[in-house]
Point group: C2
Chain length 346, copies 2
DNA sequence: CTGAAAGCGCTAACAA
DNA sequence: TTGTTAGCGCTTTCAG
């Protein structure tokens, strides 16, 4: 037998009909099977090394056993742990992941989603959402349920799973206030991402009583962070602390500080967001908000599985925010004035 | 029409037989079609928003349009760019990627491969191979062609795509020799990976005339690198330079140096391999061998596509090694003695 | 060049 | 409990 065995081969070997064999091998199917028959079929299957053809099964059951995972850029260190959490959780549920990388391009996002839908994905995990993404909004109708990860579309009504950014940013802000900082800058990311909006809003709330100035970087990349940080450092009373929208922007701040001959944290404190790998080994080690990356992936997969099972909108909350944690490192310290005062020089 | 349109709907609308419609929409199929008919069918399809059901098509054609990508740990910064290269190249060829993460567990590798084969993958990209992997060796029979990436199984006869590690390591070795180092340590990774063997062999060749001592880390992780580096630093005439099997091990060396109160590169030079993100911002910035990650992914996908098309062993070379590049940074410098001599203190 | 019919491998409904 | 039949949507012979 060169070709791989089919259910008919199994049935023949067990002396039953294919339908019976099918039911025997899949206890979830309706119709109970005599224990003896079931055993016979199962051993026959084992002996033949039978594995059901997922294609044929899908065609019949209309379930592909596949979900699509759309990511903006796998190269962004935040994503792999999330994808891994998604993938492991779904895999454990017998579901495989088609991964598509859009390189942060909305056009490619649209293509990817279309292609994934054409391939009959039973669900979608979307990590690419820009706040205005028409592609994502079109998914709200829930035919294949979709879950948003990390990046939200506020009014699309899709479930959203992420870290509790507001909480993390708030902790960072209080940390800076507690250190004595009053002139503070926030280096926000691009406004088309929900993360930017959420974090920025939290910052503005936390620093309502302080002297806060906000700049926006064009992207969440180091170079754009450096550009924006230059302006911030040039502003009239120079801020004593810069809170960055993410770690990459914080790295841009590091560069701008170096250019300006300023020291961190002596002259300016810096904090980031995400706790990317190796930021604990920078000079100075970066204070940042750690987000539970793997857990976000796991939670997103769970929410998706729920929706896939509970056909429809599911009962869960729209947003699932997992706890973040402020990690204190060497890039934040008391402002110079305060430090001087403490030393009795004020 | 609630359900999604089928080829029969298209055919009906165009007033032709489904078979004809199928041929009209897929010019690659045998049987030429009158231009007028083809146009009619195509517009009908467009109007209905028809997309062929990949499941049904697969069942008929025995081609799934999917390949499996098996990775040891997406969280390892070396992998995402490779996966991305694979994914983009295959996607451009109309092929989607099922990604499976094995968490470096051979048992999970076996399960993943089995599951991917059961799902009728047309090809496999394997980045998990340990040198003795029975799972990988069993793939040599080529029914769904497989390509090994980064980690080879020397005698399995499977195509292998990676960076030219030997060349890179050789460059690093010559760099150290040129700086004046003669007592050198190599911190190798676990011996069950081909990368370890390849790199180590190249080091031994390059330092044939020098005083080389080799230690092996249990894994390619920071902690194990630190352990092994401790021994190295305690050895009788302390090495003036440590070449590490990868950047993580190099970070372990950094930690061991810090513990021992030694400075880098003043007391000991350190070099790594892979040029992971952010190692250029460590203190000191790490000299390392950069590998063309994305290109490796692209090349692997190309090789796989070749094999998938050219049914069988394909004519290409078994190994494709892409050029690596030594990146000089602050972690390597002349040995203390040489430096002293240069300062006229010797 | 197009129509007809069969069938990929499986499972769902219905009969027995 | 098991057999029977039909059909998922598509492509591919084989006729015409």
């Amino acid at each position: 037998m060169a070709r791989r065995p089919t259910i008919r081969d199994v049935a023949a070997r067990a002396g039953v009909h294919p339908g019976t064999a099918s039911r025997a091998l899949n206890p979830a199917l309706p119709g109970r099977i005599a224990a003896a028959t079931a055993l016979r079929v199962r051993t026959a299957a084992e002996e033949l090394g039978y594995t059901p053809d997922p294609t044929a099964r899908s065609l019949r059951t209309r379930r592909s056993g596949v979900v699509g995972v759309v990511v903006p850029d796998l190269t962004n260190p935040v994503l792999p742990p999330i994808v891994r959490g998604v993938e492991e959780t779904l895999w454990a549920a017998g579901i495989a992941c088609l991964v598509a990388d859009t390189d942060n391009d909305p056009a490619r996002e649209a293509v990817a989603v279309r292609e994934l839908l054409a391939r009959r994905c039973e669900g979608l995990v979307i990590a690419t959402a820009t706040r205005a993404s028409a592609t994502v909004r079109a998914l709200a109708g829930a035919d294949p349920p979709a879950v948003l990860v990390t990046r939200d579309v506020e009014d699309a009504g899709l479930p959203f799973v992420a870290g509790d950014d507001a909480g993390g940013v708030e902790a960072a802000a209080h940390h800076l206030l507690h250190l004595g900082h009053r002139r503070i800058a926030y280096l926000a990311g691009p406004p088309d991402l929900s993360t930017t909006v959420t974090r920025r809003a939290a910052v503005e709330r936390a620093f309502a009583d302080a002297d806060l100035v906000v700049a926006s970087a064009r992207t969440y990349g180091i170079a754009d962070g450096r550009e924006a940080a230059r302006d911030l450092l040039a502003s009239a009373p120079r801020p004593t602390a810069i809170l960055a929208g993410n770690d990459m922007l914080a790295l841009g701040v590091y560069e701008a500080l170096a250019e300006a001959g300023l020291r961190c944290p002596a002259d300016v404190s810096v904090a980031g967001h995400n706790d990317m790998p190796l930021v604990d080994r920078l000079d100075p080690p970066l204070t940042t908000v750690a987000i539970p990356r793997a857990e976000i992936g796991v939670a997103a997969a769970r929410v998706l599985l729920d929706r896939m099972a509970g056909g429809g909108d599911g009962g869960g909350p729209r947003r699932t925010l997992l706890p973040t944690r402020l990690v204190l490192r060497g890039s934040t310290g008391p402002p110079q004035a305060a430090a001087s005062r403490a030393r009795g020089l004020g």
